[in-house]
Structure formats: C-alpha cells, structure tokens
C-alpha cells in the first residue's frame, strides 16, 4: 500500500472549518449552532448520560502543504462536553508550504471540556503548523490530550525531514496557564535519539488538566501509569496536572492514554476511540 499516491495526485488544497456551539437549555446541554464548510465536519452521536460528545472529522483524508483546517467548539456556561476526532489525523509530505490547523475551543463559566483528539501521524517530509487553544472562563476547566506518532514503526519508518510546530495552550481569563510549543524539525529529529530528547521514542503524548481538582488528580494519574513499553511521568502545580508520555510505537501509548483518561474522567472513552 502506498498511502502517498492519492494525495500527491490531489492538486487542490483542502479548506475546512467546523464550528459547534453547545448551550444549556431546558435542563440539558444542547446543540445551539453547527456550521461546517469544506472538508471539516462535526457531528454529535447519541450518547448516554448528560455529557454530549462532539466528533470532528477532516474528510480530505489527510493534511498536506497549503491545507487549512479549523475546528471550533464553544461550550456554554455550566456545560460539560467531550470532543474528539473521528480518526487519527495524518500529515503527509508537503508540496508547497505548510498545512495549517487551528483548534480554538472556548469553555464558559463553570463549564468543562475534555478535548481528546485521536493521534496525529506524521509522515516523512510533513509540514504542519497547528495551534490548539482552549480558553477557559472563570470556574471552568478542561482536560486535553495530544498524541503524535512519527511515521509507522511497523513499516520501519524513521523520519528525518519534518517541519512540525504544534503549539498547545490553555488560557484562563485570557492569561496563559499551559503553553507547550512542541517543535520537531530536521535538526531536532537528528538529535532525537538523545536521552534529553525523545530517546528513540516514536510516539509521544502530553496530557494536561486545568481547573478545579486538577492538582488532586496527581495520585490517581500516577497510579494509572505503568503500561508496558511506555515511559511516563506526572506533575501537579499551579492549578494544573501535566503528564508526558513516550513510547516506541503508537499502540502502547494509546493503551496508556486510554487507561489514564478512564481514571481521570471517571467515564468511558469516546465511542470513536478504539483501544
């Protein structure tokens, strides 16, 4: 199989925007607005309980140079919601320029969002600039996970060319609380085997929780670590919990992330997640 063929043949740049607004009305969290354009879609599968799930989807089949994609979710005052992506996102060798992805979520007063996108798989030569920003109103909180896989271990791929900038931030009242600007370029990849770098890992994840109770989750989070083949550690400070995870391959990482999410959320994973 050569996943690159259909994309290199695709000359048109994809452009997609999806916006979902959730608000509380008549005692439940309901969809207030849904706008979608181009290759971005969003849907709300029926879920049990009172926490809606929003699933975003990029129908273009992957990201390549010049593509634009944006996902936005507004979670209203006092609402709790989970959002994810339908499948792993793939970034392929760029033609001209970088693919740009913007994920901008807002959580209203006393609301909560679990932003749990599936992993991003980067292929040799990919150029992707992604900005993920979750803005919290007073009393609001969020749980965010981002996983990145460098090539496909099963195919024996080791990446050497990459222009990946993935800035994740969480703001509270407009002030940054978490800023993690992951940057992997050719120079970083050349040094990636270093013990202070990736140590040869191909799959990496960050999990961050901000909001009421975030620091108290340190004990349960540490107790949920230990998946074979995954190196991970947690730290709680300044009203947040942060975890970093590294693995040789995407699967053990996914199992570890799933175990952590189950513990931290106290509920099942989004249905589209297959573990």
């Amino acid at each position: 199989m050569n996943a690159l063929t259909p994309l290199s043949a695709r000359l048109e740049r994809s452009d997609g925007h999806a916006l979902v607004t959730l608000a509380r009305s008549r005692g439940a969290v309901r969809l207030r607005d849904l706008a979608q354009r181009g290759s971005a879609k969003a849907f709300l599968p029926r879920v049990e309980g009172d926490v809606p799930e929003v699933v975003f989807l990029n129908t273009s089949g992957g990201l390549t140079g010049g593509d634009r994609l944006s996902y936005r979710l507004e979670v209203g005052e006092g609402c709790r919601a989970t959002a994810t992506t339908q499948t792993a996102e793939r970034a392929y060798a760029a033609g001209a320029g970088a693919a740009r992805v913007e994920v901008l979520h807002e959580v209203g007063r006393d609301g909560w969002l679990d932003w749990l996108p599936q992993e991003t798989i980067l292929f040799e030569g990919a150029a992707l600039e992604r900005e993920t920003q979750i803005s919290l109103a007073p009393g609001a909180g969020c749980l965010m996970v981002e996983s990145v896989v460098l090539g496909r271990a099963a195919m024996g791929e080791t990446l050497s060319r990459l222009a990946f900038r993935d800035r994740r931030s969480i703001l509270r009242g407009g002030k940054p609380v978490v800023v993690e600007p992951l940057a992997l370029d050719d120079r970083a990849l050349a040094a990636a085997g270093g013990a202070a770098m990736l140590g040869g890992a191909r799959a990496l994840a960050t999990l961050a929780m901000v909001g009421p109770g975030a620091e108290d989750a340190l004990g349960p989070a540490r107790a949920a670590l230990g998946e074979a083949g995954v190196e991970a550690a947690a730290s709680a400070f300044d009203g947040k919990l942060v975890l970093r995870l590294l693995a040789a391959d995407g699967w053990p990482l996914r199992r570890q992330v799933a175990r952590l999410l189950t513990v931290l959320r106290g509920r099942a994973l989004p249905r589209v997640w297959q573990v």
């Binding site: 992951l182 202070a196 590294l246």
Partner: protein
Amino acid sequence: MSAALLSLVQWLSPAFPTGAFAYSHGLEWAISEGEVRDAASARRWIADVLAFGAGRTDAILLAHALRGHDPGALSDLARALAPAAERLRETEEQGAAFAATVAALTGRDLPPRPLPVALGQAAAPLGLPVAEVLALMLHAFAANLVSAAVRFVPLGQTEGQATLAALHPRIGEIAAESAEAPLDALGSAALRGDLAAMRHETQEVRIFKT
C-alpha cells in the same frame, strides 16, 4: 572592558546568591539512572537542553525582556511554559533571589519574576548587545549543569571544563538565533528532559532541589 559587562558577569557568576548550585534541572535524575554517566553523555544532555529545551526558551524570553516587552505578560508566559512543578520552582525561586539581590545593589525596584524575565528587566539598562547577554546567560546555565555533573557523575575538573568549552560554539549559535526570534518561534523537543524533571519529584534520594 565596560562597567556594564562587568555588572552582567557578576550577576551571572556562580557566587551571585541565586542558589543556582541547588537546581539540577532534572540532571540529578539522569545521573542516578546512569543516562548521564561520563563526559560525552553529560555534554549531549546539556547541549540538547540548551538547543531544544529551556536554554533556547529562556533565551527568547530574555531577549524580549531586554527589549522592554511587557514583563507581566512575559512572566505569565514563562510560568505557563514550565513543564513540571520543579521547573517552575527553579525559574521562580532563582528569579526572585536574583531580582532581590540586584534591587539591593542598585536601589532599583525589581519585583520577583521568573529568571529570564528578572534578568532581562535588570540587564535592560546596561545596554549590552542582546545576543551577548543571551550567550552569557546560556553559559551560566550550562556551567551550572556541568558543575552538577562534575560533582555527581563524577567528572574530573579538567574534563568538566573541557565539556563546557565544547559547548561554546553551540551557545553562540543559540544566542544569535534567539536574539532575533519572535515569541512565535518558541518551541521545545527536549521531552525526556521534562520527564526527568517530573521523575525527580519522586526520586528517593535527592541532593538537588530540582
């Protein structure tokens, strides 16, 4: 030699009471695990932290502080960028001690801030070239880690100095590049360095604060 440069060298010397010797930036964990076990592995660890971790990040923050960027906003950003409790502690405690000492020496009003912001605010009136200030800050950071490695790997004194000297070209490059970099250029890939800082929190025998 200018009086300004002498002030900066004094502020960044190991004798300046910021307590730098007590912070290992996760290196103590890497040494205890045998990941840093000789001069070559120490040099690589420190070089990567300088180029892809806190070294470059702090250099970019320092450059902005030197140019008069809003210190409150830079401090918020510096705190948000700290990937682990001990890394926040390291930058805040040293920054507070640094600002207090310079304030006492100069009579200036310098509030406690994360270290690169405190240093930038203190050094801005010196009028030194930005890349030069960045290089000296990075050198002090590297020298402190080398000194931890000399004491606890351990390395010979001369071996330690050779390790530091070998980092000079890299320090110059990072300083030159960071002096011109916008805040959008902040980026990190020293993920196991962050893991080391987190794991140090639960390390049973610890001599360093971080």
